[in-house]
């Protein structure tokens, strides 16, 4: 398989991947770095650059678009907004997504509000991906973890700067606007930003309007730090995010409101002792409200709304240190979440009562996690990393109606369930001037997610089944191994990575013919069950070549394959996909041409609503010019996505929703 990736990728041009670069690499990407950083070992999606050397295709793009470029992440798309991140081809329950280490639980039973939907690119510096159950302070996971790292200031000499930005996209008339300000003083720093987006329906290739695909989003964020001592400071942070009138054309319902408050307070202490370099402790709270409704849809079998609420408070306390040959990290974290979702169906017959049920029966999740990692440089070029984590996970159904509902299916259901979740991983890294090689292996476990464990008649519009949770499932477990090799020499850099997951007790919904459907028009009922095992293999190759001072070509190819015992191909698996591009830079002008596409999808699973998909390729063009006026600068970027107006759909499009057709965009960023 990897050989085929190599051969194909070598003939395909693709764009420089913005995500495997650190800030430093970015500013000096034409100069070959003489050593590899940790960033090469993980996926790092650089989000907020907006600098002179900004190479992102569209600086004001949504976070979803940024993440989609990562080789490790697929974004499952149900509309224009709030795509669901799949890490290594696995659904969001199998990964841990955090914002600055904070756990947030989505409030939507239908995955319409992943954690990534409650932040903005303006707030973020980067997204860091840890593949597999290894190296994750976020908590027990199967596929890996994704931490969204916020952009924040540093202490300085009383400097003030800011930016004002605006964007317009012709296809869906999306208006993006906002501003950010930052102050850095000797004992105090603060950042604040506001971003607003407003989009109408978009048009697929050929001009077909996709109804119910508009959205509005307001995001406000602030972060402030106070220096309490030479090596100590505290930080307070707040994010408010409010999306309204969000259309989900691939689903039968839209969202009238998705709103989150995310707050934290952190204490950071550096240089505690020669052995302990940092101690940080954070307390956080977040509150998410999500209201699904169908009031915009003219014809529905029955009117309904489905609000959901999720509140989480938590903490973590982390120590970092190093000795002669060791770098270590210890992390204690815990959180408490309460999730509840309900559904009301409105009777259209006078005298008949409205119908009400709890789709998430009031579930409290209590979680405590201890994690430690040590990196041992036992040779000039060799390093061994070992990480272990142990977590106690408890679920409590605290709503009597919810408990009663589930007891229809599980008469002996107990309110409380406690699990122990273990994870262990190690990797061996060899690093020389131009080569990096990493071999890693790991074991991890996870508890079923709230929908998987306790969901009650959750309709999946892709396979058209009602899903019932199963609170009696065991932990899902995985053994993984991964290989990564990177080469960097003169003008050429290349990275080949692959990983394999063997998952035991793989959680997936299977039809139960003895049960009757609830949703009008549903094909049947699926109950979450556990496959004896499933296997997922992923691979990616990235190559870039600096042709000369002005010209750079980049390419990327990736592939995933998943198979479950007794069911065949796992759903929503990426077929062979590629990106390639060439960019030209001269002084402060740059221009890019790129193509991205996918081969025909031949591995699909009709049991989950999938069917074969044809190959596609789209072409994108963009150009940017930076004008500098002393300390100030103005960046203009314009481009065309899907220039040829292809009508296409990908494996990641829910219900095979067509993607956006030709889109001309313009971004303007004024920095002062």
């Amino acid at each position: 398989m990897f050989r085929s990736i190599l051969i194909l990728a070598s003939v395909i041009f693709y764009r420089q991947a913005v995500y495997s670069q650190t800030d430093q690499h970015h500013h000096s990407h034409t100069v070959p770095a003489d050593t590899f950083g940790l960033q090469e070992l993980r996926e790092v999606v650089v989000i907020s650059q907006r600098s002179a050397s900004d190479r992102s295709a569209k600086p004001l793009a949504s976070l979803d678009t940024y993440l989609e470029k990562s080789a490790a992440v697929d974004m499952i798309r149900r509309g224009s907004y709030a795509w669901e991140p799949y890490l290594n081809g696995m659904a969001s329950e199998r990964s841990v997504i955090t914002i600055d280490g904070m756990r947030i639980y989505a409030a939507c039973t239908d995955k319409m509000d992943p954690v990534t939907s409650y932040v903005e690119t303006t707030n973020l510096a980067r997204a860091t991906v840890h593949n597999g159950p290894s190296g994750s302070t976020g908590g027990a996971t199967i596929a890996g973890s994704l931490d969204l790292v916020r952009k924040k200031g540093t202490f300085g000499r009383g400097e003030f700067n800011g930016s004002v930005f605006g964007g317009f996209e012709a296809n869906n008339r999306q208006k993006t606007g906002g501003t950010g300000v930052a102050y850095s003083g000797e004992t105090f720093f603060a950042n604040a930003d506001v971003t607003y987006r407003n989009a109408d329906n978009y048009k697929a290739g050929g001009g077909t309007e996709i109804l119910y695909s508009g959205f509005k989003k307001l995001n406000m964020s602030a972060i402030a730090g106070y220096k309490a001592g030479e090596h100590r400071h505290v930080e307070a942070s707040l994010i408010f995010d409010r999306a309204s009138d969000v259309g989900y054309p691939a689903l039968p319902m839209d969202v009238s409101l998705a709103q989150a408050y995310i707050a934290s307070l952190e204490y950071i202490h550096h240089h505690i002792s020669p052995a302990v370099s940092e101690w940080k402790t954070k307390l956080y709270y977040n509150n998410v409200k999500h209201v699904m409704d169908d009031s915009e849809r003219p014809a529905v079998p029955i009117r309904m709304d489905m609000p959901g609420w999720s509140q989480t408070w938590g903490f973590y306390s982390q120590l970092k240190g190093s000795s002669e040959k060791h770098d270590w990290k210890a992390n204690l974290s815990g959180h408490h979440n309460h999730s509840l979702a309900e559904m009301t169906m409105y009777s259209d017959t006078p005298g008949r009562k409205d119908m009400y049920m709890l789709t998430w029966p009031g579930v409290a999740t209590r979680y405590v996690d201890l994690f430690a990692e040590d990196s041992y440089s036992f040779h000039e070029k060799w390093k061994a990393t070992t990480a272990a984590g142990l977590a106690v996970h408890n679920n409590l159904i605290d709503n009597i109606t919810g408990l009663g509902s589930l007891r229809i299916f599980y008469p002996d259901l107990q309110k409380n369930r406690t699990r122990l979740l273990k994870r262990l991983s190690s990797s061996l890294i060899r690093e020389s001037e131009s080569w990096l090689l990493s071999l890693s292996t790991g074991y991890g476990e996870r508890a079923p997610g709230i929908s998987e464990g306790y969901g009650y008649y959750l309709f999946n519009s892709f396979d058209r089944f009602d899903y019932i949770g199963n609170p009696e499932m065991k932990n899902e477990k995985t053994f993984t191994c991964g290989i990564l090799t990177a080469y960097r020499r003169a003008r050429l850099s290349a990275k080949l990575s692959g990983s394999a997951f063997r998952v035991y007790d793989y959680i997936i919904g299977r039809p139960d013919k003895s049960l009757s459907t609830m949703t009008i028009g549903a094909a049947g009922v699926k109950v979450y069950e556990q496959l004896r095992h499933a296997g997922i293999v992923t691979g990616a190759l990235e190559v870039s070549y600096q042709v000369d001072k002005n010209w750079l070509w980049t390419s990327k190819a990736s592939y995933r394959n998943g198979k479950g015992a007794g069911i065949g191909p796992l759903p929503l698996m990426q077929p062979f996909g590629y990106q390639g591009g060439v960019s030209f830079t001269h002084k402060s002008f740059s221009a890019d041409a790129s193509a991205e596409g996918s081969l025909k999808q031949t591995r699909f699973n009709p049991e989950f609503g999938e069917r074969s998909l044809p190959a596609y390729a789209v072409l994108n063009l963009s150009a940017s010019q930076l004008f500098e006026f002393g300390d100030r600068s103005l960046m203009l970027k314009a481009g065309a996505e899907n220039l040829l107006d292809q009508n296409y759909t990908t494996f990641a499009d829910w219900n095979r929703l067509p993607r956006m057709g030709r889109n001309i965009f313009m971004n303007v960023i004024w920095k002062f």
């Binding site: 009562k353 709890l358 109606t401 009663g404 299916f409 008469p411 009757s516 009008i520």
Partner: protein, 275 residues
């Protein structure tokens, strides 16, 4: 409220004999009528019978009824006296009765009698009470209004065996989302005025939500246990439910009711629950 619970408990124990456990350390009843409301009074010139129920009303289906008999001197007749009752529905050319329990004294009470009557239809029913004191027979007769219950909770039908039956639902009294205990009583009509409890049958239930067209899962059909038909009813959400019924005799033959299919949205007999 506590005393009322005791009344219900004792009554059920004595009349139907199906509720197994009552609290053994029951407090003495301070007021026999606590928690009850007057429904009507029936008199015969010398005695007055005061009828009570929890709601103060009578409705179609299963009704728990309590009463006191007032002597001419104003005192109450002791509830160890033999009393019988007979409900009658008089129509233009005909009249018929309905299933009624035996009358029993309410435990812990000195003057309160109790029993139940299953009214298959609404309207003015004639209710007569007979008792015998010192060799003299007294009968008090009067009309009581029986209202239509908000939903269908009693079915009268003729089975394929040619017999007439009355089927009524008792529980769930307070339906809730989830699995509910369901109880029902089935009577066969021996004559226009004589009903007997039927044993050995099965009452198959198929709950449906007409507004949505869906059913529910893991229901348990009703079978006779301790003198009452008992089963489990799954109500997966609030709203209006229709409990489609099929009555199956001891040989396994369906004597009334049809399964719900695509072409047949409901059985010819069903109960209704709304909550």
């Amino acid at each position: 409220m506590k005393s009322f619970k005791n009344i219900i408990c004792s009554l059920s124990l004595l009349t139907i004999g199906f509720l197994a456990s009552c609290s053994k350390d029951a407090d003495p009843v301070p007021d026999e009528l606590d928690g009850l409301k007057l429904v009507a009074s029936v008199e015969n010139g010398s005695h007055v019978v005061d009828l009570y129920s929890v709601s103060g009303k009578l409705a179609t289906g299963y009704n728990e009824i309590f009463f006191q008999v007032k002597n001419p001197n104003g005192s109450s007749l002791s509830n160890d006296t033999d009393v019988s009752w007979a409900p009658t529905m008089k129509m233009e050319n005909t009249s018929h009765s309905c299933p009624a329990s035996a009358i029993t004294p309410v435990t812990g009470a000195s003057s309160l009698f109790g029993g139940f009557i299953i009214f298959p239809m609404a309207g003015d029913w004639e209710l007569s009470f007979s008792h015998r004191i010192d060799g003299a027979n007294y009968t008090s007769t009067g009309k009581v209004a029986v209202q239509a219950a908000p939903g269908r909770i009693a079915e009268s039908f003729q089975g394929t065996d040619g017999q007439k039956y009355v089927l009524t639902m008792i529980e769930p009294l307070k339906p809730a989302t989830g699995s509910n205990d369901m109880t029902a009583l089935l009577y066969r009509m021996k004559s226009m005025s004589d009903f007997e409890p039927v044993s050995g049958y099965t009452i198959k239930i198929e709950p449906r939500m007409p507004a949505m067209g869906h059913g529910s899962d893991n229901n348990v059909d009703l079978t006779l246990q301790d003198g009452i038909y008992k089963g489990k009813l799954s109500l997966s959400m609030t709203g209006d439910w229709q409990i489609n019924l099929q009555v199956v005799n001891e040989k396994g033959d369906v004597i009334k009711g049809e399964p719900v299919t695509e072409s047949n949205p409901e059985s010819s007999i069903y109960f209704e629950i709304a909550f």
